[in-house]
Symmetry: C2
Subunit: 288 residues, 2 copies
């Protein structure tokens, strides 16, 4: 028997993957989760049918969400991670010895438990002593927090289902308050290529632009996400990802990476014209 998993990028296009077998699946309180073993991508898991993380290319996403802000402010000590129940983002953060505290807010405890069981490649540092886990809604968690975090990483799903609130203006405004004066917010920022993703990219950018002083977008090659052209948003109160790039300080950490490096840090912010145009167009209209 051949078992093919197909992730639709749109109604009329998708990536299809030959799967060895389904390892486990469950309907949690929030979503459907399933783990598979595949020939090309090793083990992967899906939420509501969308591939979240696979063993072959998760390093790209997790290095890019983490090391970019740490190379802009190498003094980051207090971090809030929202989402990212697979643990890959926390694994990368845990490599910085000077980070003191990682608050991990994940709405769905079952994602964390199951990733610990089935995906140790990413979940291996979720028990780091600096990590404090909160199984609650990220939107609620940030409310009322003030001037505390150096960095907030929004490692969310697409803005449908449980991740939807993490793309709202109210949430971004509360993140702004929760950050201190050097604060940086990095968020999963969708993709410019397929219309559905591009629409969400514009909406997120329009909202962030209205709140943060500095608001940039950077790209990376993520083969298993729609179009392979994926983005993170970089929003901050005063630190600019290029002008304040602390290349030398970051390199002193001696963190071995498979994707990220200092030259690529700057290259990642060099967006194609059509992406720049879409982001510049992003306006109040897109927020609706």
């Amino acid at each position: 028997m051949e078992l093919w998993f197909t992730e639709k990028y749109s109604q009329n296009c998708g990536l299809t993957i030959n799967v060895k077998n389904e390892i486990y699946s469950e309907r949690t309180k929030y979503q459907d989760i399933a783990f598979f073993d595949s020939y090309d991508f090793g083990r992967f898991f899906t939420l509501d049918g969308y591939m979240m993380v696979n063993e072959k290319d998760e390093f790209i996403y997790h290095e890019m969400i983490t090391h970019v802000p740490l190379a802009v402010n190498p003094q980051i000590k207090k971090v809030l991670v929202i989402g990212g129940g697979d643990g890959g983002t926390i694994r990368e953060l845990s490599r910085y010895e000077h980070i003191e505290l990682i608050h991990h807010v994940e709405i769905d405890e079952r994602v964390v438990e199951l990733c610990k069981q089935y995906l140790p490649q990413t979940a291996c540092k979720l028990d780091d002593e600096r990590v404090e886990a909160f199984y609650t809604d990220g939107v609620e968690f940030v409310k009322g927090k003030e001037n505390f975090y150096d960095l907030i990483l929004v490692d969310s799903t697409d803005p449908i289902g449980p991740g939807e609130g993490l793309f709202t203006k109210e949430f971004y405004r509360n993140c702004y308050k929760a950050l201190n004066e050097n604060g940086i917010l990095v968020n999963q920022h969708e993709s410019p290529y397929f219309p559905t993703n591009a629409k969400e990219m514009k909406k997120a950018h329009a909202k962030l632009k209205g709140i943060f002083e500095i608001c940039k977008v950077y790209q990376f090659h993520m083969p298993t996400y729609a179009s392979g052209h994926w983005l993170f948003g970089f929003a901050s109160k005063k630190l600019d990802p290029i002008k304040d790039h602390k290349k030398d300080e970051w390199e002193k950490f001696n963190i071995e990476t498979k994707y990220y490096n200092s030259l690529l840090h700057e290259g990642a912010f060099a967006l194609p014209n059509y992406v720049i145009d879409l982001l510049e167009e992003a306006s109040e209209e897109d927020m609706k």
Copy 2:
């Protein structure tokens, strides 16, 4: 009826595309060619079952193969294009008024004829008066040419079938001879992600490194090619794509682009560590 075209990226993975209808197909002397209309990508054509060009993202490939070398040597006047029967590369070249001569060598005249008929978006400038067409094997064509071209663009298929000779050491050596002292060779350089493509990427790089003084690789986001992470090789006798980048001169051409820009030019050469490692590993061994 739903008609889905699937391009296999490996035995166990592929991109699947809902097709409105097949427009035309033919077995030429060299290969199978077929044209389709699709919902997401407009019209596209395949050679031996692999998507070559589609209306939605062809601009990315064609801008990146052309404008990068033209921004390193804005004096380029004599160009040789090998392959690229769809005409997209020549369309981009034709935008430079100062280019005097474009030799277009395409082994399969039917590709050119059919693209003129079915894909005018790319084929629209194949009759530019500066273009001289040669329907012959590129490998044979460059033999014996000496110190003539400013630029050779190898716009080839993968190194199987009619494109195979365009990935040989002998061919690259003849290209070297055919170029003048400022000469640049840009070639389709495969991709680092899936093993089959990565192997060909290493082979091409190993061969070029043995021949050209300067030998770099640059990347772009090409959603409909395997993994979306695609590469061009930049090989030259003395011009370095970064040190000799003539940003200001190129910008004076006032060429409107949808993907390429001067900042992205430099960013495109900032490769991920795993790609750098693969390229550095590329050795005599890989040429076998």
